[in-house]
Symmetry: C2
Subunit: 203 residues, 2 copies
Amino acid sequence: MPRRVDHEERRAHITAALLRIAGTRGLQAVSMREVAAEAGISLRLVQYYVSDKPTLLRLGLDELAARLDRRIRERAAARGAGLAPRAVLEVVLTSILPVDEASRLDRMAWSAYFAVALTDPALLAGATNHPDALEDWLTTVLVRARDSGDVNSGREPRTEVAALLALTNGLSDSVVGGQRDADAALAILDYQLDRLFDRSTPA
Amino acid sequence: MPRRVDHEERRAHITAALLRIAGTRGLQAVSMREVAAEAGISLRLVQYYVSDKPTLLRLGLDELAARLDRRIRERAAARGAGLAPRAVLEVVLTSILPVDEASRLDRMAWSAYFAVALTDPALLAGATNHPDALEDWLTTVLVRARDSGDVNSGREPRTEVAALLALTNGLSDSVVGGQRDADAALAILDYQLDRLFDRSTPA
DNA sequence: GCCTTGGTGGTACACCTGTATCATCAAGGC
DNA sequence: GCCTTGATGATACAGGTGTACCACCAAGGC
């Protein structure tokens, strides 16, 4: 037998190179040859470890989702166990926002993926990506907060969560778009959370 | 002299074809030949009336901005003169949201443009597109509303407006992304506006 | 020691892209 | 009547794309 190689690790290496290109030069700059060059390997090897270009793109999308998941867990771990409802929302939403260079590049790549996914349903097919799951979970968190009195009973948890997620996505786009910096986006997010968790506010 | 042709009208025809493709099949499906076919003319004519591909893409972006402007004015005109602050916000924000097929296709095209603009600053160069101008204007509207007592004095107009615009953009993406329909997005927007214009709410 | 077999290199092929070029047509001025 | 000139057609060209193919290498089983 010839020497064997960890395919999974190789694919991860290639995927990282792909996302580096997608985040800096856009998805339209992603070709098999460019990915090979960025990964420092030959075109043949990209073909060998990643059969198709569709497969390659799918790898990138999955990695992007995995990175977001990792960011959320890391941020949650950094704040310890037994997080208050507001802290949970802060952790999740600030994990989505592009607050440093790495998350900024990932958000750029994500925007590119979002655009092509709109007209290429093949990319989404079978994706584990379920934004609704996140929304459901945060809604239960907010329901608990309302029941315990941290949030006024007049608020509709599901609507509030949907709005917060949409707001965070819109803010993220404005940050990568250069309309404002991350701190400004964080301030707006905080402003909204302050209002939501102000029990002195009726309705 | 041979017969002369209205170049402006021809370019508009070509631009419309371009945006039809961008909205249905994405910007990556936009080639000179595809645009020609969609416009029902020859490749040579696309070259003749629109010299470059960069020029073509720029035409599409400008038209997209012009259409949004038109939508806002039409919606405003439909509601008569002397609009209350809340009505102004409703007009602007619901004009951004993809509420019908036409605005849905335009939003799709816009998302594609946004993605490539992130890594291709040449597209933005010299663009009349100024989201900040819209934000400034709406802020003055909200300041007036606060001074006249329609909005609680504890609110920060600039932050509220920035949040509403980001929210609307996020909601728009969720609509074209198929996460929810236009009515659901409108409901969320209304929910937020109701809260903002509720004077009984302190802070 | 050979031979199977996973890894690798190089390259060719068909296709699509943006753009340039050559030619033609037709309407009016002189 | 010709000739200038705006509008159009057809096509060629160079470059980039995804993918397929052919050769080769080297490590271990028998």
